[in-house]
């Protein structure tokens, strides 16, 4: 009963905060509800038939959430989707209030939450997800999230606590993620790749988990798909990649190996809840990318495609994918604001040497454009260039002002070509604002 009152109170608070324009995504109603009844979220979900889906992983959360949302909605389900942050619980409780009827009934079939590295333990202890999808674990913003091993340890601890009623989907091509699934109570399903034709010869430099998570021996890889994801086993303790529930599907809406994983996670999830492949594929044909994730924008007859590139692995995979798309003109925008991480050292972990020769124009901008400029300089100039480093390659230019950088790089892009923009997160938002003339979020 108290919860019914809290929902009404929350709806009222929401109305006021909206009419006073206190911010659209206010977590205030949720905060009020939780401070009166700290079990508000648990109790509401216990009574409701709505399912909760958590999506965790360094890269691919937003795309996977959107893929699942598309499949569910196209198949007649009501979906609420949210990104986690410091105010995760207040946010969840606010979204319950917003999506409930006056009688406390939730009008949503699925709540999907993107859970970042540090909030997974808290989220899992406060709310028991019906489904948890874990995509991967790479080095990312070490100054903010900490080191990969520490995160993996914390994840394992909290996932061990999940009850049998939860179902966990794991990308077992990532040894650390496979290890997290060992000995847990929750049910589990595994996804990964088997098509060796998709593999690459060498490890990328920023590969993180090359040593056995169980016994520290160096892992053997039959195939590497990207970073440390592949078909692996340990010769010493015999830990190996478990058998897969899914390794392929008939339709992928986006390019890039990394999007194969995102798609496979989504398809496996959809099949598990009873949607068949035809309906899944029909839904995926209507998929449009999330902000900045291979999003296409046309300005004055020029084609632009945004590839969010926020850490070494995502940057490497962006480069690999745009190379497959025969990219000639690129603009890299490096910021180091709070959402990007303050430390830009990671740009030296990118294997950019492999790609620079294929581009005709490389423009660089952003708050840390000179750092990125140095990275490109060291990748471009080699011993054979007789001019030494007096005059580095004319195809490379640094433009501090982002407006100028976009304008000039677009001018230099021939009409039949695409300008590929690789921004960090805050840079992506800035670029979208410039290109579309409006602000998002």
């Amino acid at each position: 009963m108290i919860n019914l009152f809290l929902i009404l109170l929350g709806k009222f608070t929401l109305l006021i905060s909206r009419s006073l324009n206190l911010g659209h995504g206010s977590t205030w109603p949720g905060h009020v509800a939780l401070s009166i009844n700290k079990n508000f979220i648990k109790q509401i979900f216990k009574k409701s038939k709505s399912k909760i889906v958590f999506i965790a992983g360094t890269n691919g959360k937003t795309t996977t959430a959107k893929l699942i949302q598309t499949i569910l909605e196209q198949n007649g389900k009501k979906v609420f989707i949210n990104q986690s942050g410091a105010n995760l619980l207040n946010g969840i409780s606010s979204s319950i209030i917003e999506h409930s009827t006056m009688f406390g009934k939730i009008r949503c079939d699925y709540f999907i939450f993107e859970i970042d590295e540090n909030t997974l333990p808290l989220s899992v202890s406060e709310i028991t997800p019906d489904y948890l999808i874990i995509l991967n674990l790479f080095r990312d913003q070490l100054d903010r999230y900490g080191e990969v091993d520490t995160i993996a340890k914390n994840w394992k601890k909290s996932i061990n606590k999940l009850p049998e009623s939860s179902l966990v989907f794991l990308n077992v091509d990532d040894p650390k993620i496979a290890y997290i699934g060992k000995g847990i109570n929750a049910k589990k399903l595994f996804f990964g790749l088997n098509d060796k034709g998709l593999g690459q010869k060498d490890f990328q430099h920023a590969s993180d988990s090359l040593y056995c998570p169980n016994c520290d021996e160096k892992l053997e890889y039959e195939t590497v798909f990207y970073s440390h994801l592949g078909i692996w086993h340990c010769n010493k303790c015999n830990l190996k990649r478990p058998l897969l529930s899914i390794d392929n599907t008939s339709y992928y809406p986006m390019s890039g190996i990394y999007n194969r994983y995102n798609t496979l996670a989504s398809v496996l999830f959809a099949k598990t809840i009873g949607i068949d492949e035809t309906n899944i594929n029909n839904a995926l044909e209507n998929y449009s990318p999330a902000f900045g994730r291979q999003e296409k924008i046309i300005i004055d007859n020029k084609n632009i495609q945004l590839f969010l590139s926020k850490n070494p692995t995502s940057f490497n995979e962006s480069l690999r994918t745009i190379k497959e798309l025969n990219a000639k003109n690129i603009l890299i925008v490096l910021n180091n604001r709070i959402p990007d991480g303050l430390d830009v050292s990671w740009i030296w972990d990118i294997d950019i040497e492999k790609y620079v020769d294929g581009f005709n124009q490389i423009f660089v901008s952003g708050d840390r454009c000179f750092d990125m400029g140095l990275r490109i300089k060291y990748a471009l100039e080699n011993q054979k260039s007789k001019i030494k480093n007096q005059n580095y390659n004319s195809k490379f230019k640094i433009l501090e002002n982002l407006n100028d950088a976009i304008k000039i790089s677009l001018e230099k892009t021939p009409e039949k070509n695409v300008l590929y923009i690789l921004p960090t997160y805050s840079a992506m938002l800035e670029i979208r604002k410039i290109l579309t003339g409006r602000k998002i979020l």
Partner: protein, 253 residues
């Protein structure tokens, strides 16, 4: 005669957390731009200790605890003895970043008082942060007198939990202008001993501090060829990158 140097890159697949590979790329390119050949030997788990004898310069990057544990097993004993001799007697230059810097010392003391032995090459030790003490994270600038002429400002990014304290006879790499440095208390950052540099600076440190890169290359050439004269390179972009960050930090270059 064409000069040639060999860089021994210790445990590159384990000790490589914060873009530290950039230091090796920087050393190699700055050699090649001067028409000096530069070979890199990767000294990974199980490497033959004889390989060390080929090295004119050593490099080791930072790592997480687990990686450091794996490396300790491999390097303890003979390999560690050879490295100590290279540093002490042969004055081989080298750069040791963050975890590798701590590794050179006597020990690492964990929060619960547990002592983890280190290589005992330099008289320094590191203590894990006391409870409730935050990691030392952020941009850092220091003044170093290591180079000929004016004191030089070194710029980078630090991210470490441990606090390092130098023995009486050791000199720091520089004095902290902004940031934490070795321990956030005594204004020192890093260490310089013979031609070995230990430091907490990522960034990576060398591309944005080209004088330090050249210091290491020069020391390697001097040892090998008795000639440390280096051709000047065009560092305009490096200087711009340094100025941009110095302005943000409000320090003079």
């Amino acid at each position: 005669m064409k000069y040639q140097i060999t860089i021994g890159w210790l445990y590159q697949d384990l000790m490589n957390t914060y873009g530290d590979r950039g230091n090796v790329i920087c050393l190699k390119k700055r050699c090649e731009w001067r028409n000096i050949d530069c070979n890199i030997i990767e000294l990974n788990i199980g490497f033959n200790k004889e390989e060390l004898k080929k090295c004119d310069l050593l490099f080791m990057g930072g790592a997480q605890d687990r990686q450091q544990r794996i490396v300790t097993k491999d390097i303890k004993g003979e390999k560690s003895k050879i490295i100590k001799k290279m540093i002490d007697d042969d004055k081989v230059p080298g750069l040791f970043i963050c975890g590798a810097y701590q590794f050179l010392g006597n020990y690492y003391k964990e929060a619960d008082g547990k002592i983890i032995e280190c290589l005992e090459i330099l008289d320094l030790y590191t203590e894990s942060p006391k409870k409730n003490k935050k990691r030392l994270i952020g941009n850092i600038a220091l003044k170093s007198n290591l180079f000929e002429g004016e004191p030089y400002t070194l710029i980078g990014f630090e991210n470490h939990g441990g606090s390092t304290y130098l023995g009486k006879n050791l000199k720091p790499l520089g004095k902290v202008m902004t940031g934490y440095g070795n321990n956030g208390e005594d204004n020192t950052e890093g260490v310089i001993f013979n031609n070995i540099i230990g430091t907490y600076l990522h960034g990576p440190i060398l591309p944005k501090n080209p004088l330090l890169a050249d210091f290491l290359i020069r020391a390697a050439l001097k040892r090998k060829y008795k000639n440390g004269i280096l051709e000047k390179l065009n560092d305009k972009l490096e200087i711009k990158a340094r100025k941009a960050i110095a302005n943000k930090l409000g320090v003079e270059l």
